[in-house]
């Protein structure tokens, strides 16, 4: 008998529930992300899209449920174990969340500063490589306040790539950007997936970004996944709540 190869999903979310006061945001949500896959999460504002990725990275603690990352339940892990998970996951914040008091280079070196195994010249080489990848080589000594919105997003992305993550979580990566820059960022996300083989969750309202980056799209409604499929499948859907996103 031929042995069937079973690959575990990179992220597995089971019965995830979270409420803020009386408002139930996620209700028994189930979701799986496979290795090397880009999953786009769509949904109305306030439906809990960002809450999902904040629970995955441990910034929010859910009321109920299991979140398995690389096969381990992160909700049962110690602070040290959680920090080790976090080093394998990149997170791009909606605002970029750049450190105002540090220049571009210091921002990029920050996640590596306690790593004594890597020599300083190697770290600096990595900074140059990552900046080149996101097209910000010339901004290396600039302060975040000197950068445009698109450049700030690129820098945020570059910083999350410094630890060579296996999973990337993007919180509205193209929000607030002009269509050209938004397309550039979307292409960059796709490039990262191809080059580094990362699995990603992309939270967005931008359908163009969803089209470029997503291998699979899920729509969140009333705290649960209401619809799931490829961009093409959803584009042809007759459901009113799905059609609303494509109009």
């Amino acid at each position: 008998m031929q042995k069937e190869k079973i690959t575990k999903p990179e992220i597995s979310i089971q019965n995830l529930s979270i409420a803020f006061g009386p408002k139930k945001v996620l209700i028994d949500l189930n979701l799986e992300i496979n290795k090397g896959e880009n999953l786009v999460i769509l949904g109305k504002s306030g439906c809990g899209k960002s809450v999902i990725i904040k629970c995955i990275i441990g910034l929010l603690v859910p009321d109920k449920g299991i979140i398995e990352v690389f096969g381990e339940n992160i909700l049962a892990s110690s602070t040290e174990e959680l920090n080790n998970f976090r080093k394998r996951i990149g997170f791009l914040f909606q605002s970029g969340a750049l450190y105002d008091s540090m220049n571009v280079k210091q921002n990029l070196l920050f996640p590596l500063r306690m790593n004594k195994e890597i020599e300083l010249n190697e770290k600096e080489k990595l900074v140059k490589e990552v900046l080149e990848k996101v097209g910000l080589s010339e901004a290396i000594n600039k302060m975040p306040t000197e950068l445009s919105g698109g450049m700030r997003k690129r820098l945020g992305l570059a910083r999350s790539l410094m630890l060579k993550p296996e999973i990337m979580l993007y919180d509205e990566p193209t929000t607030g950007l002009d269509p050209i820059t938004a397309k550039e960022i979307s292409n960059l996300i796709l490039e990262i997936q191809k080059d580094q083989g990362t699995s990603s969750i992309i939270i967005t309202h931008d359908m163009n970004c969803a089209k470029i980056t997503g291998n699979r799209i899920v729509i969140l409604e009333q705290g649960k996944v209401s619809t799931e499929g490829s961009y093409k499948d959803l584009e042809q859907s007759k459901k009113e709540e799905v059609k609303g996103f494509f109009e």
Partner: protein, 271 residues
């Protein structure tokens, strides 16, 4: 029940609920701060140490307060001398002026005034900076990169404040004494050497050491309160102003409370 009785009953009920709610939030706040306080000492001891950030913060706290502390110290010494002189002159005790001023400045006025200035300048700065970092998700970004933002932000700033406050106080005391010397010479002619030999004759380590221990505690309070208010700020941009304000108000109040306790304890030990 008559209408007036109902209204009295309902306002009494509202008042009681308000008091219970307020007391509950104060107790929760105290418990949170206690946890924060304990965590500070745990993280302070546990490696790795954020030496570079500590040095940077020490430089910022010390260097940026230098001019303000110096000017205030000079004026403090000068004014104190000008105000005290006529009273001492009435008793023919003008020669006691340098000694009296030096004891007052080193024991009490120097540490308290320096701490209050630092509470205003350093405390509000730390509170606003951390609250703004919280609003712009910079603290979250540090956390998700597997770093320890508490150690990087809170431990380095609080420890730097603890180290710099005594140093700033010594500097302020010295400038105050110089201000006093200038004050003495406005209406008289006292030799620099004579003035300072008289001033130091009445001072001993039992004056200086308790004052420095006290200022270390002031630094701890300023650092911890400001960091706590900023680190847990959660009301967006409005919270930034609130954190800065609360840092100054609470730190200043605690400086006076610690001062009262420190005076009692040091008097008890010295006696």
């Amino acid at each position: 029940m008559p209408k007036s009785k109902v209204s009295i009953y309902s306002s009494y009920q509202k008042l009681t609920e308000g008091i219970i709610h307020r007391s509950r939030s104060i107790l929760i706040g105290l418990a949170d701060f206690s946890m924060f306080f304990i965590r500070y000492f745990k993280e302070l001891i546990r490696p790795p140490y954020e030496i570079n950030e500590f040095v940077k913060q020490s430089y910022l706290i010390g260097n940026q307060s230098l001019a303000l502390v110096g000017i205030t110290g000079f004026i403090m010494g000068l004014v104190l001398t000008i105000q005290t002189r006529p009273t001492l002159a009435e008793f023919g005790a003008e020669s006691w002026l340098p000694a009296m001023i030096s004891v007052s400045i080193v024991r009490e006025i120097g540490p308290v005034i320096t701490a209050l200035i630092c509470a205003g300048k350093v405390g509000s700065g730390i509170g606003a900076e951390l609250a703004s970092m919280r609003v712009t998700e910079q603290i979250d970004a540090m956390e998700v990169s597997g770093s320890n933002p508490f150690k990087f932000i809170v431990v380095s700033r609080t420890t730097a404040a603890m180290l710099m406050l005594p140093l700033l106080t010594i500097y302020s005391d010295a400038i105050s004494m110089f201000g006093s010397f200038v004050g003495v010479n406005i209406k008289g002619d006292v030799n620099f050497r004579l003035f300072f030999s008289q001033a130091f004759a009445q001072l001993s380590f039992t004056d200086l050491i308790p004052a420095l221990i006290k200022t270390t505690l002031f630094g701890l309070v300023i650092g911890l309160i400001s960091c706590y208010k900023g680190y847990y700020s959660d009301k967006g941009t409005e919270g930034v102003g609130q954190a800065a304000n609360a840092s100054v108000v609470i730190s200043s109040l605690l400086i006076f409370i610690i001062d009262i306790l420190a005076v009692q304890v040091s008097n008890f030990i010295i006696d």
